[in-house]
Symmetry: C2
Subunit: 326 residues, 2 copies
DNA sequence: CTGAAAGCGCTTACAG
DNA sequence: CTGAAAGCGCTTACAG
């Protein structure tokens, strides 16, 4: 450790670089060490440091779909809370895929201080059997000992059904995501339940990956059938699906919302500016990131975890895709 | 190290877990160790391992905008090449921002085996002064000792000018990105140069962040002015900008491409399915990821780096936003 | 206020 | 084929 260029012991250098000088190191030595550090461009080796301390300062965020504008907000929220003290890293898996057991193992080998897991599957959590601090995000429908922050997607689906019924729709189609994440099951089942209560008939179903092109294809393949069944609105599991439907509706010359209403879920940035704007369920992503970050901090500080999942409200944003502007 | 439950020394366990048993450990001991590992759910502590070996197996990808569908492909390419041997992690910064010096320092503290830096600024690289393996991606206009993989965006811009001139346009507006990344400077300057050669006039300029809403706003604010100047086409620095323009053109009742042609840059997935489809410059993102991964592997293996930046071809994809379907 | 020393969990020559 | 030992770069009681 070349920092001994300051003429002090390694112990003193360590004290200075980790900021634990209070009443332990003289002013002169602090200055001398800082100077040497600056001159040599010394950076503490996190490997040695973490090993000695028994834990790293890495927080890993595991998510199936990092390349999603919705997720960017979640990340921003987490960063805001975790700040300087932890190094946030994203685990990368195949697009749309939850990481495989061996990926997880490699992550744990880094001995992260904490784990944030977005949209986990039950299977994934079973594999994990984490004892380290862990917080689940968007884990509706999952039971786990780990604290979780969820969106009230069921209520969101309910609001959607209410709105469509009020707009006079009688028969709708549901375009689901084929990724099989729990949140989509909850969205779908809640919508069906609410629709049934209201006398709104879900007469057709479809599904595709979360991709504009795939959703567009799913819609064009089904539309003639749906049309015969009297479908006047398509309820999509995500905004991305809705974009595909909006596009193909335009190609097919269908007037939106007059001949066909379209709804989404997530309220991605694009939904506010599309034409027509997309009626969708807004989920407070930034807030989710913040809460998850805070909960993880507590856990990492050794405090007790929340036991009841925290649920964030979902709200309905009505735009031109379901209602003519007043 | 509880693995000594197999009745062997730590050294033997280490040999087994790192797969270096060839002619060094007996079959029985291999089996015994593997059994103990499985029973105890043992995971090698990467901190200790990396410290002993002098380097980690972490590769960090630094990028200003991870939440971008374009970037998802780059990542896929990198993963494909790096495979099992390295742990790919994404560094997270504020959306659209290149990481600050202190962020970089924290990254280096992890002693990554290699660094992949996307769209770096000259300033960022100066701060870095890396001696570790590093490969730059999309660093057009940057000079650095590190190998880099670039897109030939200048040629792409040239193709765009050629196409617009051939379509009979005489006056166009350029909608730039306000992020100030080098690649946008190159795109803009190349387009202006080519346009000037062809007698195509760039009569107006605008700029916004890379965001559909922001681009839409920039367009509506400028359109009456641009219109007076005889603008018949808007050339956008990214597809995202183009989406904003397309939307507002529709709102304004402008027929695309008849009254207003629109072009993008990047060829995001959405551009193929938008209506009209977006004429844009296709950049081979997956291929860039692969090449960058391969180059980094060479570097990490101690082989000589390529000295000349590798440039991937940009191609023009003509769609409905500039040309009526035949 | 300071430094010598033990130890974090591994890997890797080295001697047997 | 096997194990004892040194060492990777730190941190943290501990003794002074």
């Amino acid at each position: 450790m070349v920092g001994a260029r300051a003429g002090v012991s390694v112990a003193t250098v360590s004290l200075v670089t980790s900021g634990k000088t209070a009443g332990r190191v003289s002013k002169e030595n602090i200055a001398r060490v800082q100077e040497a550090v600056a001159e040599l461009g010394y950076v503490v080796n996190g490997l040695g440091s973490s090993l000695a301390k028994g834990r790293s300062n890495i927080v890993i965020l595991v998510a199936p779909d990092v390349s999603n504008p919705f997720f960017a907000k979640v990340i921003a929220g987490v960063r805001e809370v975790l700040g300087e003290s932890f190094q946030l890293l994203l685990s990368v898996t195949e697009a749309g895929q939850t990481p495989a057991p061996q990926d997880v193992r490699k992550l744990l080998a880094l001995r992260p201080a904490g784990l944030l897991v977005d949209a986990p599957s039950a299977h994934f959590l079973a594999e994990l059997q984490m004892s380290d601090p862990m917080v689940l995000l968007d884990a509706a429908g999952i039971t786990s000992a780990a604290p979780s922050i969820n969106f009230d997607v069921a209520h969101g689906a309910h609001l959607l059904a209410l709105h469509l019924e009020a707009q006079g729709h009688a028969a709708v189609a549901y375009l689901d995501s084929s990724t099989g994440t729990e949140t989509f099951r909850v969205r779908r089942e809640a919508f069906h339940r609410s629709a049934a209560q209201l006398g709104l008939k879900v007469v057709a179903q479809g599904s595709s990956m979360i991709d504009v092109g795939a959703a567009a294809l799913a819609f064009t393949d089904s539309w003639s059938d749906w049309s015969h069944k009297g479908v006047s609105a398509v309820v999509c599991a995500t905004d991305t699906h809705a974009y595909g439907v909006l596009q193909e509706a335009r190609v097919a010359g269908l007037a939106v919302p007059k001949e066909l209403a379209v709804t989404g879920f997530d309220d991605l940035p694009y939904s506010a500016t599309s034409n027509p704007g997309l009626t969708t369920v807004h989920l407070p992503a930034l807030e989710m990131g913040r809460l998850a970050g805070r909960e993880l901090q507590k856990l990492m500080a050794g405090e007790a975890a929340q036991t009841v999942p925290k649920t964030l409200p979902a709200t309905l944003v009505v735009r031109g895709s379901t209602a003519e502007p007043a």
